[in-house]
């Protein structure tokens, strides 16, 4: 068990992480420190390495060098499915939903590692299969209800509006009650009203867990984030709270161009 003192300072830390794809340095000694209870934004121009950083944090990409620490444990070598069980959850750019499965099934997939019923017992349909299924279903339904998705439980994702589908993807990432959730461009394709709603939702989430946010919509980022890390060409060029980032001339120059103010 983890001691309380570690739990209090619990963080998801990337320390001097470097990722190389052949000759290309996608991330160059990037460090990031995400805390529970806050929204940490990651911004930067296209190709800056934001999604690569997310891929490192959730285990899809193994860093060439550097350390990845989660609750004080080194997790660099863990696979995405293992990290997901430990409480690092994420959404994908776009949707990443299972298009031929209902909304309920999609969300239930998020809780798949909650049951220890193995595949061979599934074949027999023993009693445990039923109770465990009912348990995951209840959990999925309550997350669905929290996000206001109850009317769509039996629908297939492609038949739903884009904003609803994005919420389904979020619901799936929330079923396991993650400690950290990585949101990769959650606002893309949303209207202004929907984006405001999303902002409220993210702030609501951050009360209980750590949120990492990659996003291009500056209004949203400035509104919800308490810390922002700015990447450019795979390097961290700035790190600070929204007003510091706004005032940082390096950021405005490198990222937004000289004449633009935010």
């Amino acid at each position: 068990m983890m001691s309380n003192s570690i739990m209090e300072n619990s963080t998801l830390i990337a320390d001097e992480v470097t990722v190389r794809f052949g000759g290309l340095v996608a991330l160059d000694r990037v460090s990031l420190n995400a805390n529970l209870g806050e929204v940490h934004g990651v911004i930067g121009p296209n190709g800056a390495g934001k999604t690569t950083l997310f891929n490192v944090l959730c285990g899809f990409v193994k860093p060439s060098s550097g350390k990845l620490t989660y609750f004080g444990n080194e997790v660099k070598t863990l696979r995405p499915e293992q990290l997901s069980k430990m409480g690092v959850s994420r959404t994908l750019q776009g949707l990443g939903l299972f298009s031929r499965m209902t909304v309920l099934e999609n969300v239930m997939i998020g809780g798949t590692s909650l049951t220890k019923v193995g595949p061979f017992r599934s074949l027999l349909g023993a009693g445990a299969t039923v109770t465990e299924e009912a348990r995951i279903k209840d959990l999925a339904l309550s997350v669905i209800a929290d996000l206001g998705l109850s009317p769509f439980t039996k629908r297939l994702p492609p038949s739903l509006p884009y904003a609803i589908q994005k919420k389904v993807a979020l619901a799936r990432a929330l079923v396991l009650s993650p400690k950290f959730i990585l949101l990769d461009e959650p606002a893309s394709g949303l209207s202004n009203v929907e984006m405001d709603e999303l902002g409220d939702l993210i702030l609501g989430l951050s009360k209980n867990l750590g949120v990492l946010l990659v996003e291009h919509h500056m209004d949203l980022v400035m509104r919800v984030c308490s810390t922002i890390t700015v990447l450019d060409f795979g390097r961290v060029i700035a790190n600070g709270n929204p007003s510091e980032i706004r005032a940082n001339p390096i950021v405005t120059q490198a990222y937004l161009g000289e004449d633009v103010t935010i």
């Binding site: 929204v39 959730c58 899809f60 696979r79 995405p80 499915e81 997901s84 994908l92 990443g96 939903l97 299972f98 298009s99 031929r100 499965m101 099934e105 239930m108 997939i109 998020g110 798949t112 590692s113 909650l114 049951t115 019923v117 595949p119 599934s122 074949l123 027999l124 349909g125 023993a126 009693g127 299969t129 039923v130 109770t131 465990e132 299924e133 009912a134 348990r135 995951i136 209840d138 959990l139 309550s142 997350v143 929290d146 996000l147 799936r172 990432a173 929330l174 396991l176 009650s177 409220d200 939702l201 702030l203 609501g204 951050s206 009360k207 209980n208 867990l209 400035m222 509104r223 308490s226």
Partner: protein, 370 residues
């Protein structure tokens, strides 16, 4: 402004908190279902009734009809396996004929060299093919689409030739003879061997369908479908894609192996000629025609696989053509029928029945105007 929003004090109504979900272990243990709703009990109940019904019905059929029914059984099992693999897990196999061959030879060899009872022989055939399937699944999990199709195609082409290469063990072109079991005495003297075969088939099919139904309604089945739809999204949701694919392949192979063993039993012989590439391809056709990934689809598919070529042959025989033309015409007729069925029912026969049924229900409820 931002500070107040984050702390949520001044904007309590705007920012709603989403409570973390707690795993309520105690609550889940409280979920008690009535006994008949336990899948194991319910499915076994339905299965026993189905077998009993079939037992009675088959008693009223002619020897030939019983034999025909027994011929269909092996394909139902092989199609169940293939349908699970393709429909539920999104993998492809053009090698299920070869997997049937493995089951068939396992059955034959054990029957030849041991004195094990029939049920044990069938279980052994299933297990050996299951194990072979999991090895093949390890390869399959690294391959996608056309590459997987190519690999399994190679299996379908190459594997039956092993029998002719190692003649002393596998029997060469002639293959191995299988002793058909005689019905046990307690069933009475009038109980025919053909009816016995049909009933053995039926028992295997019921067990196969129960396992298939359990699987697709369980977490494992759901994970298979998730992997089918999106592998990356599956991984971030905590699913091991490789394990899921290997297991799907193994179960699918096990079903095909049992089908192969039954085919050997029904035809009282196992030889390379019975497990050609044509078998693998027509299994794929039968799967699509029946309705991929459904429980009942394999039943329709297997009947079409066995009966339509027979009907086509009978129909062309009546035209009094010379033999060469008649044989080709029956093949052509079979092909045309398949095309017509696919045109009429792109989701397979089961898909057609299902959409027809839901239309009737909707009309009853007045939700669909005529």
């Amino acid at each position: 402004m931002e500070e107040s929003t984050i702390s949520g004090e001044s904007n309590e109504n705007l920012v709603s908190e989403i409570p973390p979900k707690q795993l309520d272990q105690a609550a889940s243990e409280k979920i008690k279902l009535p006994l008949w709703r336990l899948p194991l009990i319910r499915n076994c109940g339905i299965g026993i009734v189905a077998i009993a019904l079939f037992f009675v019905i088959s008693g009223h059929l002619s020897l030939y009809r019983n034999y025909q029914l027994a011929e269909v059984g092996p394909y139902i099992l092989a199609l169940l396996g293939l349908s699970l693999l393709v429909g539920q897990n999104g993998q492809i196999s053009i090698g299920h004929g070869a997997l049937m061959a493995i089951g068939a030879w396992t059955f034959a060899l054990f029957q030849l060299h041991t004195k094990l009872p029939l049920a044990v022989l069938l279980i052994l055939a299933t297990l050996v093919t299951f194990i072979f399937g999991s090895l093949l699944g390890l390869v399959a999990a690294r391959l996608r689409g056309p590459y997987l199709a190519g690999t399994t195609l190679a299996l379908a082409l190459g594997l039956p030739d092993i029998a002719t290469r190692y003649r002393s063990l596998f029997g060469g072109y002639q293959g191995l003879q299988i002793t058909q079991p005689s019905p046990p005495a307690f069933l009475g003297a009038t109980f025919s061997a053909q009816q016995y075969l049909a009933v053995i088939d039926m028992i295997c099919i019921v067990i196969g369908i129960i396992i298939f139904a359990n699987l697709i309604r369980s977490k494992t089945g759901r994970n298979m479908r998730a992997v089918r739809d999106d592998e990356i999204a599956s991984r971030i949701s905590g699913i091991s894609v490789q394990k899921t694919q290997v297991f799907a392949f193994a179960v699918s192979a096990g079903a095909a192996g049992l089908g192969g063993a039954l085919l050997a039993l029904v035809s009282s012989n196992v030889s390379p000629g019975a497990f050609t590439l044509t078998l693998s391809i027509s299994l794929l056709a039968g799967m699509v025609i029946g309705g991929t990934g459904t429980i009942a689809g394999p039943i329709w598919g297997a009947f079409i696989m066995v009966y339509v070529p027979q009907w086509a042959t009978t129909a062309t025989e009546k035209l009094n053509l010379n033999q060469g033309i008649a044989a080709n015409l029956s093949l052509g007729l079979y092909g045309v029928l398949l095309i017509v069925i696919i045109l009429l029912a792109p989701m397979g026969i089961q898909g057609l029945l299902r959409s027809g049924f839901s239309k009737v229900v909707l009309r009853r409820q007045g939700k669909l105007s005529k």
